[in-house]
């Protein structure tokens, strides 16, 4: 396919760009296969705007007389207006943006074309993998093994080729267990708690169905996990009613009689469409210009976003408590095990494990728990809150996770090694990126398209010396302790840095943070000289 087919008008002169935090400017607008480029023609200024078309969530056009205005709503919450002379040109431009911003073919996406001079495709791709994690965790080796049963993705299409499972579970058993779990997502280890040897496993729901099917191998695998201990916990991210209902559609939960040593805890977490709708309402509230305090607070409440943040953090807190305080291993799942499951296992690891709180540690955690664990980024992040397209499988689970991490960051400003800027960057990159990291829905898909060979890795790029300073927390002081977040409603705040990012006052706060960052960088230099 040729991009040029979709570009009828590539260049327009005399366009006026209006964007938040900048005065309007006049210049030339260009549309390329992947970008919208605006360059200022004003004298003495050389401002440019380079916008990835993939970042555009919705386009609205208004024609009046012979000119038109295109309003572009981006996935990073920016809203831009372009006043374009000439009705036809305006319509052409709008049409090109609409088509090019939601092309389906992954192989034609920008990461496959992005070739910056300072990065080489030969560079190492990624930071962490199951194999690496396993080899680092020597303590694991006598009771756990690395299995390559999924090397051709036939057992579980959404799992990576290597998984960590109990030592005495052989691959044939795993194949049977996989048949008993939705999408083949059999229980696999995702975290080992060094302090007491307890672990977190994640999976999808068991396919017990209406007639309470059992699977001896599944029971056996879980029994092997708690071998030597009195019990384990299963945290089901659905209410017990939802879990009951799931049996009607072939799913289910681990019954007491078949899993007598496992205690099930149900926590209802919102998923899928409900989360997306919550985001849409929240974004709408944030853009509300009515200047009415009651209305703002009602809308904020109605969006339920902060309730979702609260539930996610408190469920993650529960998980961490089971492992750290209660000293038991835990299996986490909901239905598919690709969304809320990952959300709480990630947060629990941040709460308990100081290694996850460094810049590298956090990125490695995201790589293991989201990218490799099969969170379907492409489906979940296809659209942001402005899109007029019918909702499909979009859901801001990853964004919700980043919001929860921000709440942790705010409550423990010294404990995390990365800055708010990193969270903002990740939130943007998940929706539209120059890098290949968040492409596709699973390891298998990425492999088939040769993502690691043909695109650059975001996580590696973020760790380059030039970037590292910017994404580090100048106040960071590592602590070995668990950081237990307060989940009182009064303790949680709207993530203004993201949701009100393009308002004037966010800018002032950024400046203050910038100031501190510069000081730290400056003393680094002085110390060296």
């Amino acid at each position: 396919m040729e991009f040029s087919e979709h570009i009828k008008t590539a260049n327009v002169e005399d366009v006026v760009l209006r964007q938040p935090l900048h005065p309007p400017s006049r210049g030339t607008l260009c549309i390329t296969g992947h970008h919208l480029l605006f360059s200022d023609r004003e004298e003495g200024s050389s401002r440019q705007l380079l916008l990835l078309l993939r970042n555009i969530d919705a386009v609205e056009k208004r024609i009046s007389g012979s000119s038109g205005t295109i309003t572009i709503k981006c996935k990073d919450m920016r809203v831009l207006h372009l006043d374009i002379p000439g009705m036809e040109q305006c319509l052409n431009i709008a049409h090109s943006i609409e088509t090019l911003s939601c092309l389906d073919g992954v192989a034609a996406m920008y990461p496959f074309f992005y070739r910056p001079s300072d990065l080489s495709l030969q560079n190492q791709w990624g930071l962490s993998s199951t194999e690496k994690y396993y080899s680092q965790m020597k303590e694991l080796h006598n009771r756990w093994r690395l299995s390559s049963v999924n090397r051709d993705y036939s057992v579980c299409p959404s799992y990576p080729p290597a998984v960590i499972i109990p030592q005495n579970t052989d691959d044939d058993m795993l194949k049977k267990v996989a048949k008993f779990r939705q999408g083949g997502r059999f229980p696999a280890l995702c975290y080992y708690h060094r302090k007491n040897g307890m672990v977190i496993l994640r999976s999808s729901q068991p396919l017990t169905g209406a007639n309470r099917k059992r699977c001896r191998e599944d029971e056996h695998l879980l029994q092997a996990v708690i071998d030597g201990s009195d019990k384990g916990y299963i945290i089901d991210t659905r209410s017990s009613q939802q879990a009951q209902q799931a049996r009607m559609t072939g799913g289910g939960f681990e019954s007491k009689s078949s899993y007598s040593h496992w205690k099930r805890l149900h926590r209802q977490m919102e998923r899928g469409k409900a989360l997306q709708e919550s985001l849409i309402k929240l974004v709408e509230a944030c853009g509300d210009e009515s200047h009415n305090m009651d209305r703002w607070l009602s809308k904020l409440e109605n969006s339920k976003w902060l309730s979702h943040v609260q539930t996610a953090l408190s469920t993650a807190g529960l998980l961490a408590e089971c492992v750290e305080r209660d000293g038991h291993s835990v299996l986490v799942h909901g239905s598919e095990g690709t969304d809320s499951t990952l959300l709480i296992s990630t947060l629990a690891q941040l709460i308990m494990d100081p290694c996850c709180r460094t810049l590298e540690g956090f990125l490695a955690l995201l790589e293991r728990e989201w990218v490799q664990a099969g969170h379907p980024f492409q489906q979940r992040c296809a659209h942001f809150a402005y899109s007029h397209a019918r909702l499909q499988q979009e859901s801001p689970v990853f964004l919700l996770m980043l919001d929860c991490v921000w709440q942790l960051w705010r409550q423990f400003p010294l404990a995390l090694g990365f800055s708010e800027a990193l969270l903002l960057r990740l939130a943007t990159e998940a929706y539209a990126s120059d890098y290949g990291t968040f492409l596709c829905n699973s390891h298998q898909e990425r492999c088939a398209l040769g993502v690691t060979e043909n695109t650059h890795c975001l996580f590696q790029a973020l760790l380059r010396p030039t970037e590292r300073d910017y994404y580090s927390n100048p106040l960071y002081e590592p602590t070995e302790l668990a950081i237990w977040p307060s989940v009182h409603p009064q303790s949680l705040q709207l993530w203004r840095g993201f949701f009100l990012r393009w308002t004037q006052q966010a800018r002032q706060l950024e400046e203050a943070q910038e100031e501190i960052r510069n000081m730290v960088i400056e003393w680094g230099k002085m110390a060296l000289s």
Partner: protein
């Protein structure tokens, strides 16, 4: 009266104290005329010294012979005392109740307090009207300082000296005063150096139902206008409320009599509405339920944030009229002692960089609140927990501080003082060992001989060790007007006051310390670099060989 009469049981042993974020302490409880003291007689535990006047309400509970007293403070802290012995507990409770609600001002602690520090500068003389006028004189000669109110007979709530237009004589002022609520004739509040525009404040005009007018009042305020220029009157009431005020003898400036002035009505809530809002807000903040919806509903239902927004919006409006429109402004509501002062003082924070320094802000509080006659004693008699019937209590000053905090948060580098200064002012306005916030006006303060008999809060604050604690490490003088965002999304709940005792701020405090440390270290290094550069330059001039070719 003797305090001893009110104290039946002066001390009880074996009392257990529970405080937010602190370990439980067991010790001896003592009651004195002004303090509740709990001491464990161990060196390493912190004692509790609580001013009775800081206690807003108490509740007692009994389980067998063990009594519990819950003490709710005006600074919103809640502490619990477990007292063995029912009689002791009842005695203590009734003593606290009596001692915390003493009416007589002259029995208040500031009259008994003797400073344990050296007074470097007597705060009572730090912000005299005549000194403020000297600054004004250096900028303009259009104003004079009138002593028409020297015996407080023209306006009981004004200070003896006020700044008025030069061409207006004292007789005119006296007549204008009879036409304004409580004699509060229009006086100068702020002079905008950049364009010579001014802000004035007053009480409402007493036009009454039959549209009375007063030539002297018209002359007075017109004297502040430049030829051919118009001014704005910002009335902090809605047009309806202002209309209704006529029936009770009040009113507003009609277009017919004040043709050079444009009136703008704003709806700022006052007295009991604000007090109720505070009560609801504090109740919401203390809600222990884990429901996010409930918290947000309650926060909304308290309307506190709405009040913050309305006040800030009105202050921005006043500042805009002066700075952008180049027009003079007169602000008033009904009495001119509450919402009027919120607007005039916040407008100055926005417009005048001097008000954003520690000393400048003290001066602002002195001029626009204390000397301008905000009735602190009435307004701050009770805080959010009191069970007694509200009389004239109203958190007007606290709202002002909240608004300042919002601006401070939006412009973190533009203020010389930090949030802790605002919290300190809130605490002292409600209960203090200093005399600054006693009384309702300069007249009352003079009658009570406060400057002679009590210590000023400013005497304590303006010492290097205190100033250091209150200084904002990020401060960089900003000479510009700062326009805060008043969009609801931009305004936050002031956690430093309202959630101070509900959630531990330890981690945030540590981060703050770390930031201060970074900034100090940075300064140190900068100095080192500068001195090395100087040395290098010196060496280069002394030894030509070292010079780079």
């Amino acid at each position: 009266m003797e305090f001893a009469e009110l104290i039946k049981t002066p001390r009880v042993d074996g009392v257990v104290l529970h405080r937010p974020f602190m370990p439980t302490v067991e010790g001896t409880l003592c009651l004195t005329g002004h303090h509740l003291i709990l001491s464990s007689r161990q060196d390493n535990t912190e004692e509790l010294w609580l001013l009775h006047s800081n206690i807003d309400s108490i509740e007692k509970r009994f389980v067998g012979s063990l009594g519990t007293i819950i003490v709710k403070c005006k600074d919103l802290r809640v502490i619990q005392l477990d007292i063995p012995g029912m009689e002791e507990c009842l005695n203590i409770a009734s003593s606290i109740e009596a001692l915390s609600t003493l009416d007589s001002v002259s029995l208040m602690y500031p009259f008994f307090y003797r400073p344990m520090f050296e007074v470097i500068e007597d705060g009572w003389n730090s912000f005299l009207p005549e000194d403020a006028f000297k600054d004004l004189e250096s900028m303009t000669d259009e104003w004079r300082l009138s002593d028409v109110n020297k015996d407080f007979s023209v306006c009981p709530s004004y200070p003896p000296l006020v700044a008025v237009p030069k061409d207006i004589d004292d007789d005119t002022l006296r007549k204008a005063a009879t036409f304004r609520h409580s004699g509060r004739f229009p006086v100068l509040s702020y002079y905008h150096k950049k364009n010579g525009m001014v802000m004035m404040r007053s009480g409402q005009p007493l036009t009454g139902t039959n549209g009375r007018r007063c030539k002297e009042d018209e002359k007075l305020i017109n004297a502040t206008l430049r030829p051919g220029k118009r001014g704005y009157i910002i009335d902090t009431r809605t047009i309806n409320v202002a209309q209704q005020a006529k029936a009770r003898g009040g009113g507003f400036e009609s277009e017919a009599n004040y043709p050079q002035w444009r009136r703008i009505h704003k709806a700022l809530e006052r007295s009991n509405v604000l007090q109720e809002s505070l009560i609801k807000l504090v109740e919401a903040c203390n809600d222990q339920s884990h429901s996010m919806d409930r918290w947000l509903s309650k926060l909304e239902a308290s309307s506190w944030q709405t009040h913050v927004k309305e006040i800030l919006t009105t202050a921005c409006l006043a500042a805009q009229c002066i700075d952008r429109e180049g027009a003079s402004v007169l602000v008033h509501g009904t009495e001119g002692t509450d919402s009027t002062l919120q607007v005039t003082s916040l407008a100055q924070i926005i417009l005048d960089p001097a008000c954003r320094t520690i000393r400048g802000f003290q001066g602002l509080v002195e001029r626009e609140w204390l000397q301008a006659g905000h009735p602190f004693q009435q307004r701050c008699a009770q805080s959010a927990y009191s069970n007694s019937k509200p009389r004239q209590e109203s958190p007007v000053f606290l709202l002002f501080l909240d608004c300042v905090w919002q601006i401070l948060r939006q412009f973190p580098c533009s203020f010389e003082f930090s949030e802790s200064f605002l919290v300190l002012l809130f605490e002292h306005a409600y209960a203090s060992q200093f005399g600054t916030f006693l009384g309702n006006s300069t007249a009352e303060r003079t009658r009570l001989s406060l400057p002679e008999k009590t210590v000023s809060l400013w005497s304590w604050v303006n010492r290097p060790q205190e100033l250091e604690r209150l200084t904002n490490p990020l401060y960089e003088a900003n000479s510009l007007v700062i326009w805060p965002s008043v969009a609801p999304q931009s305004l936050l709940l002031w956690e430093g006051v309202f959630l101070r005792w509900n959630r531990s701020s330890r981690c945030l405090d540590e981060a703050y310390e770390e930031m201060v440390h970074i900034i100090e270290y940075n300064k140190e290094l900068q100095n080192k670099v500068n001195s090395l550069r100087r040395q290098l330059a010196q060496l280069e001039t002394e030894d030509p060989l070292l010079q780079t070719p």
